[in-house]
Amino acid sequence: MNNEIRIINGIVFDPTNNIDGKVVDICIKDGKIVSKVSKSAKVIDAKGMAVMPGGVDIHCHITGPKVNLARKLMPEDHRLDPHFKTPNTQSGSGGIVPSTFATGYRYATLGYTTAMEAAVPPLTARHALEEMYDTPIIDNGFYVLLGNNLFLQSLIAEGRFAEFKEAVAWWLNATKAYTVKLVNPGGDEPWKGHKNLNVKSIDEDSKATDIAPRKVIEAFIDAVHELGLPHPPHIHCNNLGHSGNFDTTLESMKTAGDRRLHVAHIQFNSYAGEVGKPPKSASKEITDYVNDHQNITCDVGQVMFGKAMFMTADAPLTYLLRSYKKEKWVNADTECESGCGILPFDYQGMIYTHALQWAIGLEIFLLSKDPWRIVLSTDHPNGGSFANYPLVIKLLMDYEFRKLAMKSVNQKAMNSTILGELKREYTLNEICIITRAGPAKCLGLKDKGHLGVGADADVTVYDMLEDKEEMFNAPRYVMKAGQLLIADHEFVSDYTDKKVLRVAPDYDKEIEKVIKPFFDDFYSINYQNYAIQDDYLHGLGKVIGTKKKNSIYEN
């Protein structure tokens, strides 16, 4: 079979290699970008079309136990959005939390070829890997929740940092994760063990472990830096969603010093105002800090109006939000490791807070000076579905459209922001950075997010249209690992060389002797049955190497 493709006449956007809208040929062979192909290669004429690397979603919730609970919770939502079977694809359910098959296909139909699941408890990581195997087309990886791990917290509290680092490495290996995720560090113990309380400040000692969130954050930043993981700790800061939380966010970022840190869905952490009262925008304070500090990367977590689903390891927050509408609610505690809250939600333009959240997200995009370190995300499905990405792109690229959109939402909220004054319009090149090249760099994925020789042949070809939402909603061609999957907007195949991305840092085997007694005492499954065997990668695993770095600009 001929596995060579040549894309000709396309207008190529490849910011990593400084190609900004130039007509060049892209050649593909054996799943990689190459410099030339033989004459028998399949030719795709992309005249008048934009050629970009496949999209990379750095933060979304698409596989794993909490996602599946949310799926089960929403039959009324699936019912309105069936995903039909075609000769080349399987059927599924759509809605705010689509079934696995539909998730893979729908990402591909936006031109995305990589999506990272942002929060999986170690105990149920097998479940996440199994769902990834059933999520077609896109490459996946996941971040493992360690920020509320009681054993690791006890090592920090006792100052046993050398052992802590080894234990973190053990957990990353045992779960086949990509990096460490911290969610409301220190907040689980007051929630689960002290009648639904929460921590309020990053310097407050949580009652159960006598350890302040700041110490946890610091220890993980240190350990991950020492281990040289390709992506730094991915943090969901304390006080997320509360008015006046931008101080906490700034303090969390300052804790990193000059070491790397990724702040997830930073929009939700950029609120001024007083706790318990309606928020105000603190986008300026936050973006000022991010602009000045090359060690910080973040994704926006843009709120989009319409259906959403809170799905987070931050259980106290979800319970608090439940108090507004008393919607159906799921809480799921994972022993010794994590909490979880799930709540269906609607963002409505006429509500002050929702409109303000929408505006803050856009302000952060527009105020940030370095597109490489600010990634497009909606924290799917927390701020809205990933299906909104094309609309977010239009809002960023079109000032007139943005002004129009501002008119249709809560005016009090609009008047309290500077969004209307921000006339910046993103260029196609910048969009290519915040959806592909940037996230790939933030993740340390050298083979993704660009079209240079040797890169993975994940390529999207969009018709060049005036309406950018329309343009990014339906790529004409999508190739993943060199396989043509979508041609003329239709799936021609759903087979691809899919990968599960992970890290495998070295660790001292002796650490198991320290960890095991804790398991024997406090876990409900056997230590020997905890670590995940290679079978669960189904031969799809790809280890990304480790190397210490202080910013995404170091190679």
Binding site: T63, P65, V67, N68, R71, K72, L73, M74, P75, E76, H78, R79, P82, H83, F84, K85, T86, P87, Q90, S91, G92, S93, V97, P98, S99, T100, L123, T124, R126, H127, E130, E131, D134, W191, K192, G193, H194, K195, N196, Y319, E327, K328, W329, V330, N331, A332, D333, T334, E335, C336, D521, F522, Y523, S524, I525, N526, Q528, N529, Q533, D535
Partner: protein, 456 residues
């Protein structure tokens, strides 16, 4: 060691440590199996309960054909071809069971039905199906079993009899284990049993509430009302058979505990009220979070029924009772659940995997399933009334004993199995992989028109 014992022939013995018992939803993963590799039997199952012992120790490799069509032995591939043809030719094929096999095999089931436009349903529809529906309505605060071990100081069982159905539930997870914040085991916990009769389980309780049959919802709603400040009614005893003072005391204990949990069984889900009962219980647990941390959990039965729920949910969006005849999954319990599709004589082909409806279903359903109006295909590890009645019958190896894979414990924790010895029979995974491939080939050949939104 005595001289005599030295003369005993040394058997070819294998020890399997940390094996998982898949008899019930507890999925205890601490069993040590001693296997006689010559005779192919398990001789010891250390730490297994009475049910687990009978599961492991009675397992023998039977001398039976792998595949039969109409009672006649055939090669496996022929049986698979015949099964695929039956499913593709049928107007209303159904697939049912799946609760006693591994997730890897379960994963092929929905795609098979997707390709032939059939209906998929699991044994959930006849056990905790109402809890699944209640979950869709009200959500659920829940936990992994280790949280109960470490934290729960209030443990309640409602309409279940774990002493006989999940024998190690007490000792491993919920009543006696010494956890992080429950260092004194049972002394740190209040154990409450709600049931209509004094079962073996009631024996371990600190408080036993004997409820009038069919009055679960009433008592649950009284407790919910109490959460909102409404007094327990004076005629409480007349309504549900429990004294007002007992219910008041119970409510205070629920409100004032540090970490409360309710496990519930089919005594709640399969009596009058069904999903209203489960829903009331989950809503009560939610309400109690205003006062303290409170969770609930259905005590699931079969070894991997929880896995079946999970797999069908992630592939289709719905946990059971899913139909593909319009080219996409549709969920409607009562319409697409197996007892109903059979009793109404709708199904004209049935693929039954790892379950035995002919022994358990209501008579009208069995009558149709075993009639010539419905072609029956069975994939099972043992001879059952269903496999005996089947037109195509395929015998497979047993999960957890002969084959590995993943099972989900009742609290959605995935566990890998450690098989003890090989079986001459193929695994469910192998058979279903082949069947899926064959059905997919036939469906591509059939070249059916695919529904698209245009034609809706």
């Amino acid at each position: 060691m005595s001289a005599a014992s030295k003369d005993i022939k040394i058997v070819n013995e294998k020890i399997v440590e940390n094996a998982t018992c898949t008899f019930c939803g507890c999925c205890c993963d601490d069993i040590t199996l001693t296997v006689d590799m010559d005779k192919k039997v398990i001789t010891k199952a250390k730490d297994a309960c009475v049910l687990g012992k009978s599961w492991f120790l009675n397992h023998v490799i039977e001398d039976k054909p792998i595949a039969r069509i109409a009672g006649k032995e055939v090669p496996l591939d022929d049986a698979i071809d015949e099964a695929a043809k039956i499913l593709m030719d049928a107007k209303f094929p159904i697939l049912y069971g799946m609760s006693d096999t591994v997730c890897e095999a379960q994963r092929h089931c929905a795609p098979i039905m997707d390709d032939c436009g059939g209906t998929i349903d699991t044994t959930t529809s006849v056990c905790h199906g109402p809890s699944g529906m209640a979950f869709q309505g009200v959500g659920e605060p829940t936990m992994t079993l280790g949280e109960v071990k470490n934290r729960a100081d209030f443990v309640m069982y409602w309409g279940g009899n774990p002493a006989e159905a999940h024998p190690r539930h007490f000792a491993r997870y919920a009543v006696t284990p010494e956890g992080m914040y429950t260092p004194n085991g049972k002394d740190d916990r209040t154990v409450v049993i709600v049931d209509i009769r004094h079962t073996k389980t009631a024996g371990v309780s600190d408080i036993f509430l004997q409820l009038k049959p069919g009055k679960d919802f009433e008592l649950l709603w009284m407790l919910r009302a109490a959460c909102k400040g409404v007094d327990i009614p004076n005629d409480c005893k007349d309504i549900c058979g429990v004294e007002k003072e007992v219910v008041e005391d119970l409510f205070q204990r629920m409100k004032n505990c540090n970490y409360g949990v309710i496990f519930f069984g089919m005594g709640l889900t399969m009596t009058r009220g069904r999903h209203f009962n489960s829903g009331a219980l989950m809503a009560l647990a939610t309400d109690l979070n205003e006062f303290t941390h409170f969770v609930a959990k259905p005590a699931r039965g079969h070894g991997n029924v929880t896995g079946a729920d999970n797999v069908v949910s992630w592939q289709t969006g719905y946990p059971f009772g899913v139909n593909f005849s319009r080219g996409h999954p549709r969920f409607n319990p009562g319409e697409f659940t197996t007892v109903d599709t059979l009793s109404r004589k709708e199904a004209d082909a049935a693929l039954i995997i790892a379950s035995d409806p002919v022994a358990n279903f209501p008579k009208p359903a069995i009558d149709h399933l075993t009639s010539d109006k419905c072609k029956l295909i069975s994939i099972d590890t043992k001879n059952t009334p269903t496999s005996e009645a089947a037109h195509v019958s395929i015998q497979t190896s047993t999960y957890g004993i002969n084959t590995g894979g993943t099972v989900y414990r009742m609290d959605d924790v995935p566990i890998s199995l450690r098989p003890a010895f090989d079986s001459p029979f193929p695994s469910d995974l192998e058979v279903l992989t082949k069947l899926r491939k064959k059905v997919n080939e036939l469906s591509k050949k059939a070249n059916r028109p695919y529904a698209t939104k245009k034609y809706m």
